[in-house]
Symmetry: C2
Amino acid sequence: MIKTTDLMTIGEVADRTGVSVSALRYYEEEGLIAALRSSGGQRRFVRGELRRISFVMISQQLGFSLAQIKMALDSFPKGRTPTKADWAKLSRTFKGDLDKRIEALVQLRKRLDGCIGCGCLSLKHCALYNAEDKANKRGVGPRYIIGDQP
Amino acid sequence: MIKTTDLMTIGEVADRTGVSVSALRYYEEEGLIAALRSSGGQRRFVRGELRRISFVMISQQLGFSLAQIKMALDSFPKGRTPTKADWAKLSRTFKGDLDKRIEALVQLRKRLDGCIGCGCLSLKHCALYNAEDKANKRGVGPRYIIGDQP
DNA sequence: TCTTGATCTCAAGTTAACTTGAGGTTGCAG
DNA sequence: CTGCAACCTCAAGTTAACTTGAGATCAAGA
């Protein structure tokens, strides 16, 4: 007989979502998802968490960091179960970001097209390099141009 | 009086390229660039290294990892100074990768368009999630899909 | 009740691409 | 010959997103 409890163990959630147990614990620690506890202290997840986890996974595929995803989830109306409309709204804001990233990549490709064959790669003259030069001067540390964060 | 030596110190290279001194040392350690040494053990760079460094910077902007860039540079004909054609060839192979990345993002956006409004986010049914499921199974550790920021 | 697999916590390790710091040397202008 | 900025090496720190391991506890079937 199949269990009809609506509480799932972390292992069950891991199986259903494909997210590892350790990652789920990490997500909880980071406040992305929530879990109840059994009398013995083990995590018990309600069905609704599956949707949050799905959202996290999908958002990651779209290239968002957990920090961004958390902010998105935190923007949810507090106190009531999120509706389909809530989720759809979140998706829509993500689309804007995606649009921007695609546009940036297409621009970059255009410049690369211009550069192929010239082989110059001069810091002074290369259009590819220089076009992005200013955007690049954003503080110290690793510089990610293509999908960087607001 | 302007120095006409063709050897540059690490500080000069840093000034000319915008790459930090510590990053240049790191690049040398990783085998991306090479440096001669002064009698006292300080690095001395030949002009040709500027082009390699440019290539590294541009490639990073295109979203490639240093490991990938190193492989590209290692594919250079050994024993002779790289020609413009060599550099152009490298650029061309990078364009292929860029094309693929753009295509993947556009597909993703298409699916997101389909998903907006449905709000389903079901792991079983969401086309957005499932379509990329396999592509996502790329080993362990942090998964950077787009080239995004930490 | 026993046993075994699933969980728990907490600390430390992993990867990429660097940066920062400590403690010591080099090289060039004056 | 001095002084001091620039350089050197080596070790450790940084961030994201987790994983791995140790040592201990829980839950459930036989």
